[in-house]
C-alpha cells in the first residue's frame, strides 16, 4: 500500500514584485507531520513568502492551506494556524493576562488553561507589561500565544533570532513537542540560524534572491552534499556538472558537490568534508561556478 502524504501548505508559482525585489515562481509543499525550514540570507524573500502564505501581502500564484485557497477561505483557514512574526505582535503596553483576554475572543478554540500553564512553565509573569520582558521572554510569549489554541499549522518567522543558545534550545523543544502531539500538524519555520534546523527540520527550503534554490529532505541534504578541498590544479580536472560552487582561496580551493559518492569515485578523492546547512548556504551565496 502506498502512503499518500497530505500537505498542510501547497505553494505553486507564487510571485510578488516590490521595487528592487522580486519573489519568483516559488513552489513547495509543507507535508503533515513535518517541520520545514525556510532558509536564506536577510532579504532573500523568506518573510515575503510567509506574508504571501498568510495573505498579508497580495501575491500571484496558487496558495493552498489545508487544501483550501487562502484568498477565498482566509478567516476559516487562519483559525487553525498559529503565527509568530519576528517584528510584529500585539502592543508592548499589554500584559500576558490581557493577551489571554484578547485571544479568547479571537480564537474559538483558545485554551486558557494551556496558555496559563505555559506561562507558569516558562516563568512569564502575567501582570508585567510586555515592554519590560527580555527578548527571550517576548519570544516565548509569542510562541505560547501561537500554540495555545492548538493549531494544525505553525508558521514562524525567525523565532530564534537574537536569542541565547539556552532559550533557543527551550524554544526548539516546544516545537518538537508540538509536532509529536499530533501527526497531522506541521511547522514552517524561517530562520537564518541554520544550526537550529539541523536538529529539528525534516525538509530544508533554500531561497536566494527571491528564487527557490533547493527543497530537500534535511537528512538527504546532509548526506549527499560534500566539500572537497583541493589545489587549483586539481580543481581544473573537475567537470562543471560535478560540482555546484567553488570558493577559491589563495592556497586552497573548496568545492561543494551535491553528489559526494559520485565525486569520490570519479576523481579518486580520499577525504571529503560533511558540510553544515550554513556551509551549503554560504557556498550558494558566496561561491562561484
Amino acid at each position: 500500500m502506498r502512503l499518500i502524504m497530505k500537505n498542510n501548505i501547497e505553494l505553486k508559482n507564487v510571485c510578488k514584485k516590490y521595487s528592487g525585489f522580486e519573489l519568483k515562481n516559488i513552489s513547495f509543499n509543507v507535508p503533515q507531520g513535518c517541520i520545514v525550514g525556510l532558509i536564506g540570507e536577510n532579504g532573500a524573500g523568506k518573510t515575503t513568502t510567509i506574508k504571501s502564505i498568510l495573505n498579508i501581502t497580495n501575491s500571484s500564484g496558487s496558495i493552498k492551506i489545508f487544501g483550501k485557497d487562502i484568498k477565498q477561505n482566509e478567516t476559516e483557514v487562519k483559525k487553525d494556524i498559529g503565527v509568530v512574526l519576528d517584528d510584529s505582535f500585539l502592543s508592548e503596553y499589554l500584559t500576558a493576562r490581557q493577551v489571554n483576554s484578547i485571544m479568547k475572543d479571537i480564537y474559538k478554540t483558545w485554551n486558557e488553561g494551556k496558555y496559563k500553564s505555559y506561562l507558569k512553565k516558562f516563568n512569564l509573569p502575567e501582570n508585567k507589561l510586555i515592554k519590560d520582558f527580555s527578548s527571550g521572554m517576548k519570544m516565548k510569549l509569542k510562541i505560547i500565544t501561537a500554540i495555545a489554541h492548538s493549531p494544525k499549522l505553525l508558521i514562524l518567522d525567525e523565532p530564534t533570532s537574537g536569542l541565547d543558545p539556552v532559550v533557543r534550545n527551550e524554544i526548539l523543544d516546544i516545537f518538537r513537542k508540538y509536532i509529536e502531539e499530533d501527526e497531522t500538524r506541521s511547522i514552517l519555520l524561517s530562520t537564518h540560524i541554520t544550526t537550529d534546523l539541523e536538529h529539528i527540520s525534516d525538509y530544508i527550503i533554500f531561497i536566494e534572491d527571491g528564487k527557490l534554490v533547493f527543497n530537500m529532505q534535511t537528512e538527504n541534504l546532509l548526506e549527499s552534499f560534500g566539500i572537497v578541498k583541493c589545489s587549483s590544479n586539481d580543481f581544473e580536472k573537475f567537470d562543471k556538472k560535478d560540482y555546484i560552487k567553488v570558493k577559491k582561496g589563495k592556497y586552497q580551493y573548496e568545492v561543494l558537490t551535491d553528489n559526494k559518492e559520485n565525486i569520490i569515485k570519479k576523481y579518486n578523492i580520499k577525504t571529503i568534508d560533511k558540510p553544515s546547512i550554513e556551509d551549503i548556504m554560504l557556498f550558494y551565496i558566496k561561491g562561484e561556478k
Binding site: K51, L54, N55, I56, T57, N58, E74, T75, E76, K78, K79, I81, V83, L85, D87, S88, F89, L90, S91, E92, Y93, L94, Q98, S101, I102, M103, K104, D105, I106, Y107, I155
Partner: protein, 224 residues
C-alpha cells in the same frame, strides 16, 4: 473577532486612565473658574475622542497590523473596529462631558449659593452635540489619513486638511461680505433652532459613513 480587537485597543487606552482623571479635574477647575460651563463638555468630548485615535499609534509602534492580519480576521473587520471604537469614544465623551458639567455646576451652586451658575440645559445639550460633531469631523478626516500615511504622517495631513477647510469657510465668508450677498440670518437661526440637533446628528452619521468607505478602500489595497 471585533470584540477581541476592541479589547486590545481598550487595554491600550487604559494606560491613559491617570492622565484622563487629571484632565477631567483641570476641566472641572476651568468650569468653576470661568463659569463657561458649555465648554467643559466640548473639551472632555474632544479629549476622549483624541485618545481613541491614539490607538493607531500603539498599533504602529508594535507593527500590530501585520500580526493582526495573520489572525482569523480581515481588513474589513479591522477598519470596522476602529470606527466602532471612535464612535463609542465620541458618545462616551459627550455623555461624560455633559454629566460632569452638570455635576460640577450643581455642586458649585450648592457650595456657593451667593454666586449661582446658570445652567441652560438646552444650550448645554446643543454645545455637547456640537463638540461631538467637531471631534467626529476630526476623526472622519484623520482615520482615512492614518490608514493611508500612518499615525505620524496622518496627523500632519489632518492639519493640512483642517487648514484647507478653515480657509475655504473663511473664503466663502469673505466672498459673501465682499459681494454684499444678503443672508436671512433670522431664517438661519430659526432653522438651527428647529433642525440644528438633527442636522448635526445626520451629518455625523454621513461623515463617519463616507470616512469608513474611504478608509476600507485605502486599507484593502495597502501592503503591510
Amino acid at each position: 473577532m471585533i470584540k477581541g480587537l476592541l479589547k486590545k485597543d481598550l487595554y491600550n487606552i487604559s494606560s491613559y486612565k491617570t492622565s484622563l482623571v487629571i484632565i477631567i479635574l483641570f476641566c472641572s477647575i476651568a468650569i468653576i473658574g470661568t463659569e463657561a460651563i458649555n465648554f467643559g463638555s466640548i473639551i472632555i468630548c474632544t479629549i476622549v475622542g483624541m485618545i481613541a485615535l491614539s490607538t493607531f499609534n500603539y498599533d504602529e509602534i508594535s507593527k500590530s497590523n501585520k500580526y493582526i492580519l495573520a489572525l482569523p480576521t480581515n481588513k474589513k473587520e479591522i477598519v470596522k473596529e476602529k470606527f466602532i471604537l471612535c464612535i463609542m469614544s465620541v458618545v462616551i465623551g459627550g455623555i461624560l462631558g455633559f454629566i460632569l458639567t452638570v455635576v460640577v455646576a450643581n455642586l458649585m451652586n450648592y457650595l456657593r449659593p451667593q454666586n449661582l451658575i446658570n445652567i441652560d440645559y438646552e444650550t448645554l445639550i446643543i454645545s455637547t452635540i456640537g463638540g461631538m460633531w467637531g471631534i467626529s469631523l476630526i476623526q472622519s478626516i484623520q482615520i482615512p489619513s492614518i490608514f493611508k500615511w500612518g499615525a505620524e504622517k496622518g496627523r500632519i495631513q489632518m492639519f493640512v486638511i483642517l487648514f484647507i477647510l478653515i480657509g475655504a469657510f473663511l473664503g466663502i465668508g469673505f466672498l459673501i461680505t465682499k459681494l454684499s450677498i444678503n443672508i436671512n440670518i433670522e431664517m438661519i437661526d430659526s432653522l438651527i433652532n428647529k433642525f440644528g440637533v438633527l442636522f448635526l446628528v445626520l451629518t455625523m452619521v454621513l461623515m463617519y459613513y463616507i470616512s469608513y468607505k474611504i478608509s476600507y478602500k485605502i486599507f484593502k489595497n495597502k501592503e503591510e
